[in-house]
């Protein structure tokens, strides 16, 4: 993975040729690097560590749900008397695990891996650029992300523990909860949001300005289109949440009342606040980001799936333009649906009808994108490589996640299903066997580009099948828990008769989750052990897109000579040619 000593002259921009090589010291080459590939790897590895940590929080939480009130063997004692007195989980700790699982997975796991990791590494290569438009801003975005992430994790060790008011952090609860962990959550969010804002502007300018000669917009790989739309979502949706986080910090530290009405009585005491604020203001500001955020979670994944499907069906993607227009429409619509998360807050019929309607409309581009992907299989010659297994599984999993959004987006059915396990199942299907599977596909697919080596395919297949089985074992039963009326975020669901009636599902889900964790071991082993494999051919997947024109791994500056693009991105199986792929960058006809 080290940058090779010979780097393309494209890297030097305005410098004149013939100057001596300047070797950077280690800390500038690998720590405070401005090279998009190093930064991409920093993001990816950091995000994978955070994903694993966030998953561990859930594995702990699942013990309490499967065996409420039972002491957790061995580990229970290790977590201390305030979190797990006598080895039994405390309700406050349960709430911390829940809030931080969501926060970490979304803001420190998926987005940094999908955008910061894959986006940073692959986009400049796929457009034929030597780096991002603003390499130093790129570095700054990672170095805002990492402290933000570390601060979030450190909050567990503060008195009272980490934030515990949900990843949604609704006031007044988040403000009357006096622990420092709640305040630190807000500061960490400011850092994490800033990181995304810096990154998004970089992506937009890079994609607009630095495309190689001949690479028009409609010759871009769909992955780049997906990242492009994603960047607009990040840029435009995050600022209201950053503002809201600052406002909540001020409520906590400066005695303001942006989100607090007057007259609160908490634990029998009058709460001293100026009042005049509204808890619903936070909800609007939060969801104004958080709805586009879920499209940030899915779009890069769709981009990866597109690349892997085109490559492994050996034919052009079906409906490329339709995919591009749908992604843009999806991005636009994502800004006008946010209040479907707030249908039960006392919303009037006019406003709720507006948001129901936009929510139904936004399902259409998703349906179109899924249809295009499925149609892309028709007439192909499908190679079931490990990336293709994950990309193929993505399709029905995303279908389940997307379809189950329909009863939630209709207000009348949402009355019953809101804040139940049905919601949890819905969004996890999209992001877990959806996005995370796509990210695995991307790791297996681009590993040879990044390292020059191939991951072990047999281990990859074991990873895939075990993950597929266990992940469905985790999330499918949750739909049934929701239909039975079980609320989410309950420390002990057996308090309620309708919870007791289906408690067996919790046991099934928890064991599936622990099985899913074990299923990742072959992957972790494979990821590191494959670094010692023999080097493989430059373009082992026989792909057509520009990143495969660079050496594997690419040196600083990426391309030995600046690439030129001659054709569309997925020219596979053109009639009358001796090979079944015709790279974008190959001059010969």
């Amino acid at each position: 993975m080290s940058a090779s000593k010979t780097h393309g002259h494209a890297a030097h921009g305005g410098h004149d040729a013939g100057h001596g090589h300047h070797e950077l010291p280690f800390w500038r080459k690998y720590v405070f690097s401005v090279d998009h590939k190093i930064i991409g790897l920093q993001y990816a590895v950091t995000a994978l560590v955070f994903l694993f940590f966030g998953f561990t929080l859930m594995m702990l939480l699942r013990w309490q749900l499967a065996y409420p009130g039972q002491p957790l063997p061995v580990i229970g004692k290790l977590l201390g008397e305030s979190a797990m007195p006598g080895g039994v989980m405390a309700p406050e700790f349960y709430n911390q695990l829940g809030a931080m699982h969501g926060t970490i997975m979304v803001f420190m796991g998926i987005v940094p891996l999908a955008v910061g990791g894959f986006g940073n590494y692959v986009v400049p290569l796929q457009i034929g650029a030597p780096d991002m438009a603003f390499p130093r801003i790129n570095m700054a975005s990672y170095w805002a992300f990492l402290p933000g992430g570390i601060l979030m994790i450190a909050s567990f060790f503060l008195p009272g523990g980490a934030a515990q008011s949900g990843w949604t952090n609704y006031p007044p609860l988040s403000e009357v909860t006096q622990t420092p962990g709640q305040t630190v959550w807000l500061f960490a969010m400011v850092l994490l949001i800033t990181s995304s804002l810096l990154g998004s502007i970089n992506f937009i300018v890079t994609i607009v300005q630095l495309r190689a000669k001949g690479l028009t917009f409609f010759r871009l790989p769909f992955f780049v289109h997906a990242q492009f739309v994603t960047s607009f979502l990040l840029l435009l949706a995050f600022p209201p949440l950053e503002a809201a986080a600052v406002m909540q910090i001020m409520d906590r530290l400066a005695n303001t009342s942006f989100f607090l009405p007057a007259g609160l009585v908490v634990s029998g005491e009058q709460w001293h606040a100026a009042g005049g604020g509204s808890p619903l203001l936070w909800q609007h500001l939060f969801w104004f980001l958080a709805h586009p955020e879920v499209y940030v979670l899915i779009l890069p994944a769709m981009g990866i799936v597109a690349e892997v499907i085109a490559n492994n069906t050996r034919k052009p993607l079906w409906g490329y333009r339709l995919l591009v227009y749908s992604a843009i429409f999806l991005g636009f619509m994502s800004f006008v649906v946010w209040a479907h998360h707030m249908f039960m807050t006392g919303m009037g019929t006019t406003m709720s009808t507006f948001f129901q309607t936009t929510t139904m409309i936004i399902s259409i581009p998703s349906v179109v994108i899924l249809t295009c992907f499925i149609m892309s299989l028709y007439g192909g010659a499908i190679r079931y490589t490990v990336p293709m297994l994950f990309a193929t599984a993505f399709l029905p999993m995303f279908a389940i996640g997307g379809l189950t959004g329909l009863p939630l987006g209709l207000t009348a059915s949402d009355i019953y299903l809101h804040d139940t396990f049905y919601v949890i199942a819905h969004f996890h299907y999209v992001v877990a066997p959806g996005t995370i599977f796509a990210l695995f596909a991307g790791i297996y697919y681009w590993y040879p580009k990044v390292t020059g080596k191939q991951m072990n395919q047999a281990l990859g297949k074991v990873h895939f099948w075990l993950s597929f089985i266990f992940i469905n074992g985790v999330f499918m039963p949750m739909f049934f828990q929701g239909m039975a009326g079980l609320s989410r975020r309950l420390y002990d669901p057996t308090i309620y008769a309708h919870g007791r009636a289906i408690q067996g599902l919790n046991v099934l889900i928890s064991w599936s989750a622990w099985g899913l964790a074990l299923a990742q071991l072959p992957f972790i082993w494979n990821f590191f052990a494959s670094l010692r494999h023999v080097k493989v051919a430059e373009n082992p997947w026989q792909s057509t897109t520009l990143e495969w024109a660079a050496p594997s791994p690419p040196p600083h500056g990426n391309f030995v000579t600046p690439p030129v693009v001659y054709r569309d991105p997925y020219q596979y199986s053109e009639p009358g040619r001796s090979t079944d792929f015709h790279p974008q960058f190959a001059r010969e006809a």
């Binding site: 309700p91 949900g166 007044p172 609860l173 607090l260 009405p261 007259g263 609160l264 009585v265 908490v266 634990s267 029998g268 808890p279 069906t313 050996r314 034919k315 052009p316 079906w318 409906g319 006392g346 009037g348 709720s352 129901q356 139904m360 399902s363 259409i364 179109v368 899924l370 249809t371 299989l377 192909g380 010659a381 499908i382 190679r383 079931y384 029905p396 279908a399 379809l403 189950t404 329909l406 009863p407 207000t411 009348a412 059915s413 009355i415 019953y416 804040d419 049934f480 239909m483 009326g485 609320s487 975020r489 420390y491 002990d492 308090i495 008769a497 309708h498 596979y572 199986s573 009639p575």
Partner: protein, 266 residues
């Protein structure tokens, strides 16, 4: 409480408006199932028929697919139907046509960490004045002890009594954080947002003993924010109201007899 009626699908529906909600959920799920199975069959067909094997090459040109347009248009049409034929009318009818207050039993609710405080107007049908400033452990709804209208009010904690076959309006508020009033068997859910008073209505069709569960994370006791929902026959309700009415009071002390926190509630 009869636990055998709970299982792996909807709990029983004992409300007048719930039938339409259940119907909508069922119809949407049939639609989802048809889409998923339809896509799924085509998907599996392609995975098998178009797998790479010796002698099989991919086709460069896209298939001329009219049926995808048909599918997209049908999806749009069905979603429009779901939205404007099923969901919106049900929602509008429920939200915009509450029963008139004079025909209903009106109950005020103050949600708090971690209990549901119900306030009944009593025999005179008038609620005593309440205020946040008067709220305390003994006086959870903050009743003004000097208000004569409040003398016959009933306050219960975690006990919601009402008669069957009569509209009930609950005026929902919260004294501290956001909670959510959620009775699955009545198909009602409404957030209790501090600083607001939000009315919700329902009418029960069968008597029984059910549960209210908080549906919005409200702190470490969120899981145990449970109330008993007792749907009485009219006779049972009248008996309960009479038994729990406060005795005719002399000039009150601050620990007014309305606040029966320790006394057993049926």
């Amino acid at each position: 409480m009869d636990e055998t009626k709970y299982g792996y699908w909807f709990p029983p529906d004992v409300s007048t408006h719930g039938v339409q909600i259940d119907q909508l959920i069922d119809i949407v799920h049939w639609f989802m199932l048809i889409l998923f199975v339809g896509w799924g069959i085509f998907f599996v067909y392609c995975l098998i028929k178009y797998r790479a094997r010796p002698g099989h090459a991919a086709t460069y040109l896209p298939p001329k697919a009219q049926f995808t347009k048909v599918i997209e248009v049908s999806v749009i049409v069905i979603e429009v139907l779901l939205l404007f034929w099923f969901s919106t009318p049900v929602w509008f009818a429920y939200k915009n046509h509450p029963p008139p207050e004079k025909d209903a039993l009106v109950i005020k609710l103050v949600a708090e960490q971690f209990a549901w405080d119900f306030h009944y107007a009593g025999k005179d049908g008038k609620f005593g004045r309440t205020s946040e400033a008067s709220m305390s452990g003994d006086n959870p709804v903050g009743m003004d002890p000097d208000d004569p209208d409040g003398k016959d009010d009933i306050v219960t904690i975690n006990q919601l009594h009402f008669p069957v076959n009569k509209p009930v309006i609950v005026q929902i508020s919260s004294k501290d954080v956001i909670h959510s009033f959620n009775i699955p068997v009545l198909r009602v859910k409404q957030d209790a947002v501090p600083g607001t008073r939000i009315p919700i209505w329902f009418q029960a069709t069968k008597p029984g003993h059910f549960e209210l569960a908080c549906a919005q994370l409200c702190g470490l006791g969120h899981y145990r924010m449970r109330a008993d929902v007792l749907i009485d026959t009219p006779e049972e309700y009248a008996k309960w109201a009479a038994e729990n009415a406060p005795p005719p009071a002399e000039p009150p002390t601050s620990a007014a007899p309305e606040n029966q926190q320790g006394a057993p509630q049926k």
